[in-house]
């Protein structure tokens, strides 16, 4: 593929232009040379013959000093010249010129005037012209100073025809040469640039993460050296990345193993704490507070291990989604009621049903609510569900009026173990938002966080409208109807 302005195109074009110019110059030169030589040859022969005829052949016929046309006809000169293939027009100054064939009648007047004047002035003159439809060489001269004027007409049709064929051959040859040059130029350009293309393909593969991409070393020149350098760089890159990946995988396996190993003792702790909690009142004062703290800390430990397990399942790509039709309004209401019942709700007044995984939605929304409860304690929290028609998205937003998060830290709050406020040691693992973001990605959506001008944090879960919006009664209707349905805001 020739790219406009590409090196290959420029190389090819230059080569073709050079060939075209050379071929045209050579062809034109050759043609002009051949044409000139042929015409000169004809002219030279014709002039010699004319000079001879005017000084020898004509006078030998014993014409009177001032012959009449009839004298010329009777002399048989016309036939003599005709035998040599030369037509003649003889002008004796009076009466009709004597012509060697009927076509020539009146042609004398068509000859260029300066030519006929030079002839009548006694010169031997010539002209290239068309006589009776044929390209011809006309040589004119007088016998003696005042004798009759003879015009010898040499038909050069054959020569011109040959020249025409020569011209055609040259043109065709030049075009063919340019075409061949084009092909050759392409091939040459391709050959020259093949290593560059191979290298750019290799670089592209590297860019897309194929660390095994290498440049073939096909020559021993500067390019070969460069390719070798490139390959060594790729090798080093692959090695470093491989090492990092192995370390990362080991890390993740370690986290998964730790979480897994913690599970059994944790299960015992949870069961034990649940019994301890029921008997806290019967503990002596000295140990009751310790018992309370133990119970609540085991709760924290449990959520940390649960979150670690969840994170390692994501890392192992072991998560699968189970899609079913979900009435989002009902689900949002139920999750809010169980995680943060004091939050206000803004729901559309019509059922909004999409095909999604309700357990993941539960995890996402629960984590957002837990985050709001923990980082904006006592502040008002609003949960809303709406469709964003233009973006084709469904937006579930959790907005709190707490202290918010400084803008420079906002971008990092979905990172694992990131704490926007390091001084706060809440019950959360620091993994909740990271986990919520992973779940959102599995559902084809994403999470956003933004700070409010009036103070507070707004977290949004944005899910694609999958074209399966339905009314809650299970009747399938056009998705657009459901999206376009008016949304009435209600507080509860």
């Amino acid at each position: 593929m020739l790219r406009r302005g590409g090196i290959r195109a420029r190389l090819a074009l230059t080569l073709v232009a050079m060939v075209a110019l050379t071929a045209t110059l050579l062809g034109t030169g050759a043609y002009v040379f051949v044409e000139t030589s042929l015409h000169d040859q004809v002219l030279r022969d014709a002039a010699t013959q004319a000079r001879f005829d005017l000084s020898v052949t004509v006078p030998n016929r014993g014409l009177p000093a001032a012959p009449t046309p009839e004298d010329i006809v009777d002399s048989g000169l016309r036939e003599t010249f005709l035998q040599r293939g030369v037509d003649t027009i003889a002008d004796v100054g009076s009466g009709e010129p004597v012509v060697s064939k009927p076509d020539l009648v009146g042609e004398l007047a068509n000859l260029p005037p300066d030519f006929t004047k030079r002839v009548s002035d006694g010169e031997l003159a010539y002209t290239w012209t068309t006589i009776a439809g044929h390209p011809s060489l006309v040589i004119g001269g007088r016998v003696g100073a005042a004798g009759p004027a003879f015009y010898f007409i040499h038909d050069i049709s054959a020569i011109d025809e040959a020249l025409g064929q020569f011209r055609l051959a040259l043109t065709v040859g030049t075009i063919a040469l340019i075409l061949v040059a084009l092909l050759v130029a392409q091939a040459v350009a391709r050959g020259v640039l093949a290593p560059v293309e191979a290298a750019s393909r290799a670089a592209e593969r590297l860019e897309h993460g194929d660390l095994s991409a290498r440049v073939p070393i096909t020559s021993d020149d500067e390019f070969g050296t460069w390719a070798d350098r490139f390959n060594r760089m790729a090798e080093a890159l692959a090695e470093t990345i491989g090492r990092l990946e192995a370390a990362e995988a080991q890390n993740r396996r370690f986290v998964a193993d730790v979480a897994h190993e913690l599970r059994t003792p944790l299960a015992a702790l949870v069961a034990e704490a649940s019994i301890l909690r029921e008997h806290l009142d019967s503990l002596p004062d000295a140990s009751r507070r310790a018992g309370e703290l133990l119970v609540s800390d085991i709760g924290r430990l449990r959520s940390l291990v649960d979150d670690l397990m969840e994170v390692s399942r994501f890392d192992a790509h072991a998560e699968q989604i189970a899609v079913e039709p979900v009435d989002l309004g009902l689900l949002v209401r139920a999750i809010t009621a169980s995680h943060l019942p004091e939050a206000s709700l803004v729901l559309p007044d019509r059922p909004l049903v999409i095909d999604t995984d309700p357990r993941r939605l539960d995890r996402i929304l629960a984590n957002l609510l837990d985050n709001a409860r923990e980082h904006a304690p006592g502040a008002s929290v609003a949960v809303s569900l709406a469709t964003h028609d233009a973006a084709g998205e469904i937006v579930v937003a959790v907005t709190d009026r707490g202290p918010g998060v400084p803008r420079d830290r906002l971008a990092r709050i979905f990172e694992r173990f990131y704490k926007a406020d390091p001084s706060r040691h809440g019950g959360s693992s620091g993994l909740g938002l990271a986990i919520a973001a992973e779940h959102a990605a599995l559902l084809g959506g994403y999470l956003t966080a933004s700070d409010l001008v009036e103070g507070g944090l707004r977290m949004e879960l944005r899910l694609p409208v999958t074209g399966s919006l339905r009314h809650g009664d299970g009747m399938a209707i056009g998705g657009e109807d459901a999206i376009a349905a008016p949304i009435r805001h209600q507080e509860s």
Binding site: A267, D473, G474
Partner: protein, 226 residues
């Protein structure tokens, strides 16, 4: 309540504290530390309910459950560390009535055990048989026939079929079924119902892939169709 419970669990701490919790709740608890010992114990004494850990040395919980099912309809509750759908399915396939996810709090486990015992203790119902298509349900004998052929249903499947048939034509939500069949409320965990319905269909529907007796109502639940 002095029901006798067999607890098969390999971790000593979990086994001990669970036994204490169940004893505190008024149950008599016998324990075994591995699958083979548990099965031996089950064969030697009479119990009202079995609590089975899934991951057990020597003989795993699913094998123990299958072995128990060959001779008994005693309620079996599995204790599972992984509550993946696949575990739930496999557990129910093995004949378990319910599962409790680890880690669990003892009061929660006690509530589930009581619910399972309550269902098992439900006496034979009114004598009139129920019909759903070519399926006949004999409530007194707790047997089901399709075109006169006996269909072997587990206790849970039988209760599910009966509940749906009693409300034929009416949509029952997953939560309602959880409440009525399993006797407690799992918030948001309705896989138990889906799995049990799937297994029931496999036994009573002509073509389980296109059910005609128990149909799914998208976004709402299930209903029986006469």
């Amino acid at each position: 309540m002095d029901a006798r419970i067999l607890l098969v669990e390999d971790d000593p701490s979990i086994r001990e504290i669970t036994a204490i919790g169940l004893a505190n709740a008024g149950f008599t608890v016998e324990t075994a530390a591995d699958g083979a010992a548990g099965l031996e114990r089950f064969g030697a004494e009479l119990f009202d309910l079995v609590l089975l850990d899934v991951m057990l040395p020597r003989l795993d919980g699913l094998e123990v459950c299958r072995a128990i099912r060959r001779t008994s309809t005693i309620p079996v509750v599995m204790l599972t560390a992984r509550a993946d759908t696949i575990d739930v399915v496999v557990g129910l396939e093995a004949g378990a009535d319910d599962y409790v996810k680890k880690p669990f709090e003892v009061p929660e486990l006690v509530a589930r055990v009581r619910a399972a015992l309550r269902r098992a203790g439900r006496g034979p119902d009114d004598a009139d048989p129920l019909h759903l298509g070519s399926v006949a349900i004999d409530l007194a004998g707790r047997t089901v026939t399709r075109d006169g052929q006996d269909v072997a249903l587990t206790r849970t499947e039988f209760d599910l079929l009966t509940e749906l048939t009693r409300h034929v034509g009416q949509v029952l939500s997953r939560d309602a079924l959880l409440d009525r069949i399993w006797g407690y409320d799992y918030l948001g965990d309705s896989r138990l119902v889906d799995v049990a319905v799937g297994r029931l269909r496999a036994k009573i529907e002509v073509d389980p892939a296109t059910p005609t007796l128990i149909v799914t109502v998208r976004g709402a639940g299930y209903k029986a169709v006469r």
